[in-house]
Every structure is written in structure tokens, then in C-alpha cells.
Symmetry: C2
Subunit: 202 residues, 2 copies
């Protein structure tokens, strides 16, 4: 019985440490990261199928029309999106796929894949979130204030997620997500096939 | 923020190895085992409050009337039940409580405590379940057949549980239950307090 892999959607406000958590998860677990598709030109060092799948605008829009994108959006004149095929192939092979994505995109993925495991990552409190943004030293005060305002709006969507992981330490947050993956595989809805098979043996 | 402990209800057919899994869990984790209340006479070596809470028939029935038992049943003229107070005290102190109980009792606990985490433990298949019952060498063929018939009826109730843990190896099953405990603590419904507190900080 080759169980399907999970699609784990991670999102949450900027500064909660999603990227670091994902790195830790990929080290610890046999999960893989979803690869996005884009119409932007590859930068030096970027690899096809690893950094992104690079396609033309025509190909991208064709895939959108054919329902082959779980979500997509346009930034600075380029399209970015999550191709359904990559996720489905990995999942069919029993591999768990992690998708790190902002909240609006995440909720679109949830509509397209109701079986996705939705994880909202948050700092322990708003002050800590601000501290982390300040510590980056990459954004000016106005940008940080903008990010904090976006964070407030994103928090309003937290109740549309299955789990809320508090990133106090990266290790604990990664451990929580691994626990979520383990628990979800035992969840009643994912054990239906097993229960039906056992009942047939009676 | 002192989070409440969880009530984890473990049940499943006889022979699935629930007892061994519970032992492993108590070794690995800061969980404690729920202590039952009974009207039967203590046996040599049994300790009040550890093996059971030993009470008179009158006291027991009084507690039932006052709604102080999560579930109870009568076997061989003695009452056995799960006192609500023990579970609630441990939970209030942030401690997770494990309750190992047969399926009918488990479903009563679920009605009394909708927040309980319901875990159904099963052998990998019916043949393996039978093998394990035979291996015990404590029951005759008729008793084993009866247990298998009960197992079939219990399997029909599996869909009323939140999780199905397959006890292939005890270590993996205990690990799955620890993952379930970790994941449940991150579940949206148990993070409501956190989310509301963070929203107030905005």
C-alpha cells in the first residue's frame, strides 16, 4: 500500500522565519520543496526545475486556462505560480511536498487541493515579529510598518488554517511541523483505505 | 500562558498491543495515565490512587448521579469508571492524560469531553491480530474467535475516532501517538487563545 504523500502549505507573516524552518525541515525529513513556475528570465546560477520552471508567458497562461496551476499571481510584470503536476507527481510517489507561500496564494491552494495540510506560522507575539523585521536590517522603517500592517491582515485569515505553529525556536517549530506531518498520516480521513481493506478481511 | 493538557483516549481491539504502547508512551513522554474508580475490593499490592480509586457502591453511584464520571460500566457485579475530576485536575495543570479504554467506553468519553483526542489502535491486518491473540497463549480457540468477532464490531466504530494508529512496531506506534499529541497542540482550535491574544497586540 503506497500511501500518497502530503502537500504541506506553510505561510504566515513576513519575519516569522518560514524560510529557516523550511531549510530545517528539508534537512530532517524526506520532504521536498515545491518548485514554482515563472515567466521571468532566469538569473545567473538559477537552474531549470530547481530554482523555478522557466516558461514563456504563452505557456504559463495556457497552463492557467487548463487548470494546471494551483495558484498564480503577477508581480512586476512577471507571472509566478504553483504547477499542479509537480505536486501531484511527488505525492503519487509517496513524497511529502512543502509549499512555502504567502497567505493569499495559500488560500487559493486550499481551494484547489482540499486535502492540503494548512500550517500558519507566527512569531510568539507582535513585538517579537517587529524585532525580527528590524534585526534583518534590510528594510527601512516605512517598509517594516507596511509589513506589520500586512501581518495584521494575514492574522485575520489564520482561522482558515488547520494548524498554527509558533516559531519561538526554529528547532521546536520544525519539530511541530514534523509532528503535524506524522499525525496527519494517521488522521481518520487518510486511513479510510486501510480501514476499508481491513474490513474486507473480516 | 499555561496551556491545558490533552485527554488522549486510546482504544481498539484486544490484541492490538495497546498496553505495550501505553507503557512506551509513559517512558518517553510527560503524559500520565488516567486512574479508574472501582467498587471492587483492592487486591494484594494494589495502591489507592495508583491502581484504582477504591470506593463504596454508594459513593460510586453518587458520583454517577452528580455527573462526575466520564463513563462507567458494571463487570461481574462491580462498577468501573473514569472519574472526571482526575482528568480535569491534570489537564488544568498542563499535563496530558492517557486513557486506555474499550471502544464503547471511549465513545461515551467522547460525548462527555468533545475535546478529547480519539485514537483507534489497530493491528496491520486481521490475520496479524489473530496471530497476536494466539501468541498470548492465554485464551482458548473459542475465546479467540469471540475476540475476533468483537474486533469486527469495533472496527465499525473506527470512523468515530480522530486518528487510526497502525501498530506494526510498538516504537513506530508510540512515535505516531507522540506526533498526534504534538500536532493537536498546534491545531487551530487549541490555538484560539493565542491568536486572540496576538490580535489584541495589533
Amino acid at each position: 500500500m503506497n500511501d500518497k504523500g502530503l502537500l504541506i502549505v506553510l505561510s504566515g507573516p513576513s519575519g516569522t522565519g518560514k524560510g529557516t524552518i523550511v531549510k530545517k525541515l528539508l534537512e530532517k525529513n524526506s520532504t521536498c520543496l515545491s518548485v514554482s513556475m515563472t515567466t521571468r528570465t532566469p538569473r545567473v546560477g538559477e537552474e531549470e526545475g530547481k530554482s523555478y520552471f522557466f516558461v514563456s508567458r504563452e505557456t504559463f497562461l495556457e497552463k492557467v486556462e487548463q487548470g494546471k496551476m494551483l495558484e498564480y499571481a503577477e508581480y512586476n510584470g512577471n507571472f509566478y505560480g504553483t504547477p499542479r503536476e509537480f505536486v501531484e507527481q511527488k505525492s503519487a510517489a509517496g513524497q511529502d511536498v512543502i509549499l512555502e507561500i504567502e497567505v493569499q496564494g495559500a488560500l487559493k491552494v486550499k481551494s484547489a487541493c482540499p486535502d492540503a495540510v494548512m500550517v500558519f506560522i507566527m512569531a510568539p507575539n507582535m513585538q517579537e515579529l517587529k524585532n525580527r523585521l528590524v534585526m534583518r536590517k534590510t528594510e527601512d522603517e516605512q517598509t517594516i510598518q507596511n509589513r506589520m500592517n500586512i501581518a495584521k491582515r494575514e492574522l485575520e485569515k489564520a482561522d482558515q488554517y488547520d494548524y498554527i505553529v509558533i516559531n519561538d525556536t526554529v528547532d521546536k517549530a520544525a519539530e511541530d511541523i514534523l509532528a503535524i506531518i506524522g499525525a496527519e498520516k494517521c488522521s481518520k480521513k487518510r486511513r479510510e483505505k486501510f480501514i476499508n481493506e481491513v474490513k474486507k478481511q473480516c
